[in-house]
């Protein structure tokens, strides 16, 4: 095991995060704060409670998920795409490091960064709304698992992408709609029965539901389904990464 390689990649990526502190951390916090103001204060003041929780507090878990998922994907995909773009990927390919070690370095760094953002948004939320966390351990577990699995997913996108447009394609066309339709701003129970059924095919609904449960004890689906969904997604990403590793797809000529 080449732990030095994992650490070298991790440090290098974290250095990039801190070098670009404004884009990396401050801007997602500002944009999420805007959501609080618009949805929580402006719109929320006209909406009564959702299942006994004020609307402002209700959307906090969904907003954190929204940021954490998009950040994980963009951090990890950019992290591995950039060396491909500038050509410095030759070094990774010729290094005495396994693909798993290289993946770990990038995924851990991307997940760390989105975890930091998620926690900062959480702290920020306490300034806007009155809220509590019923199951802090589960909250942290869901948060960490989401960071890791979507960073893995982003890593795969970064390897797949052959230009900057493709790098944006999956997050914009697939992930963004799934998150917005994933119950970040509403409870699935507010939908007509047909759309409730459809939304069960959206994997994000399980994540948001589980995460919201850890805050308020409210869930659209059973907590175990949520846990199963995130673990299954992580496993699927790991299988794909393993296949990329064996085949050298998009990396090795």
């Amino acid at each position: 095991m080449n732990l030095h390689a994992v650490l070298a990649i991790y440090r290098f990526e974290m250095a990039r995060t801190f070098r670009t502190l404004t884009q990396s951390i401050i801007s997602p916090v500002i944009s999420t704060s805007l959501y609080f103001v618009v949805f929580g204060a402006a719109i929320g003041s006209r909406i009564d409670q959702v299942e006994g929780v004020s609307y402002g507090a209700f959307i906090v878990p969904g907003l954190i998920m929204l940021s954490v998922i998009t950040q994980s994907i963009s951090n990890a995909s950019f992290g591995i795409y950039f060396p491909k773009f500038v050509g410095s990927i030759y070094e990774h390919l010729s290094a005495p490091a396994s693909f798993l070690e290289i993946t770990s370095g990038y995924v851990l760094a991307a997940a760390t960064k989105s975890l930091m953002i998620g926690l900062i948004i959480l702290v920020t939320a306490f300034f806007f709304v009155d809220m509590g966390i019923q199951h802090p351990f589960w909250m942290l577990l869901f948060l960490v698992l989401t960071c890791l699995s979507f960073s893995l997913f982003g890593f795969i996108i970064g390897i797949w992408a052959e230009n900057f447009e493709q790098l944006q394609l999956v997050p914009l066309l697939l992930v963004q709609p799934l998150i917005f339709l994933g119950g970040a701003f509403y409870s699935a129970s507010m939908l007509p029965p047909f759309w409730q059924g459809v939304s069960l095919f959206n994997p994000v609904i399980y994540l948001v539901s589980g995460f919201r449960w850890s805050f308020y004890g409210l869930a659209d689906v059973a907590i175990w389904w949520s846990l199963l969904a995130i673990l299954a997604f992580t496993l699927a990403c790991l299988v794909i990464v393993g296949w990329i590793f064996r085949s050298g797809w998009r990396l090795r000529g």
Binding site: A15, G87, S88, P96
Partner: protein
């Protein structure tokens, strides 16, 4: 001497079509500078990519310090440093950090003293905190070398180290390479500049169309394939090559002032004395004489064909 890198029947095909390398056999000796000379598209970079693990091997095998570069890729790759042809660097990172990154990636713990020595050696120490994008072209190339040396490799591959580099910088690069050799690093460089191979290499391999045409010690190669020219500058211009000298391979310059005699340096006698006597018997007097050695370029052109050079 034992081979530090041994390439055995290495074949590389891209997809179904391009047959980039055809059963290459090559042994690289420890401590030498081997220049791989060949036209563009000959397979130089593909060969390096296969040895370093960037490209997969279709068949055959590569041993680095006795380790198979696929089955024991960690042991094999840890011994290799690679300087690519293109300046492939992250533009916004600081020099020292990119070098630290490379060292870690290749499995070595921190050693700031070693990195400092390496950066001094490459005249980069003053620039250690500069962002890569702020550096000149020559400095960027040296950063690539510093990265390749960061994990103390025994073998250094330089892929076209001076392609597109001005003359002053090229000389500087040659000095750097000579210095690395003095430190005991085995160096394999590819080039299509014959002058470069001639100036630096101990041995020269000529590669063309995916095959190694020959690998020979530079001096032996020059001796073996080298022809020498003996040029006689005449006092008075001649109209044609004097008669009765058919046994010599003579040619006359257009202005009639120079007679050129081409001979093989490996022969027992060169025939120069006899030729001079024969000329004076015919009343031709020499104003001056000089000899010229055929360059590696001529050998190269002979081997791979005029179009390629």
């Amino acid at each position: 001497m034992a081979a530090i890198v041994s390439v055995e029947k290495l074949t590389k095909r891209y997809g179904r079509g391009v047959h980039a390398l055809k059963e290459i056999d090559l042994a690289i000796e420890e401590g030498e500078i081997l220049a791989l000379l060949g036209p563009n598209g000959a397979g130089k970079t593909t060969l390096i990519s296969c040895i370093c693990g960037i490209a997969s091997i279709t068949s055959g095998r590569v041993l680095v310090g006795g380790h198979d570069n696929v089955a024991e890729y960690r042991a094999a790759r840890a011994q290799i440093g690679l300087v690519p042809q293109e300046v492939n660097l992250e533009p916004f990172e600081r020099v020292i950090n990119t070098v630290r990154f490379s060292r870690g990636l290749f499995g070595k713990g921190r050693d700031e003293a070693y990195l400092e020595r390496t950066l001094w050696q490459l005249s980069l120490w003053d620039k250690r905190d500069a962002q890569v994008r702020e550096l000149s072209g020559g400095m960027k190339r040296r950063v690539l070398i510093a990265k390749a040396l960061s994990h103390e490799p025994r073998i250094l591959f330089l892929d076209e180290p001076t392609a597109g580099v001005d003359v002053g910088l090229r000389k500087e690069m040659w000095d750097t390479v000579a210095d690395l050799k003095r430190h005991g690093v085995t160096i394999i460089l590819t080039t299509h500049y014959i002058e470069e191979a001639e100036a630096m290499a101990d041995r020269i391999g000529i590669i063309s169309e995916g095959e190694i045409k020959l690998v020979r010690e530079k001096a032996a190669l020059m001796r073996e394939l080298g022809r020498k020219l003996f040029v006689i500058e005449l006092m008075e211009p001649a109209r044609r090559v004097p008669e009765g000298l058919d046994e010599y391979d003579l040619s006359l310059s257009e202005d009639g002032r120079e007679l050129t005699y081409t001979y093989d340096t490996t022969g027992d006698g060169t025939g120069i004395t006899r030729l001079l006597n024969a000329l004076s018997e015919r009343g031709l007097r020499a104003r001056d004489v000089r000899t010229e050695q055929s360059s590696l370029e001529d050998i190269f052109v002979d081997l791979v064909g005029k179009d390629a050079a």
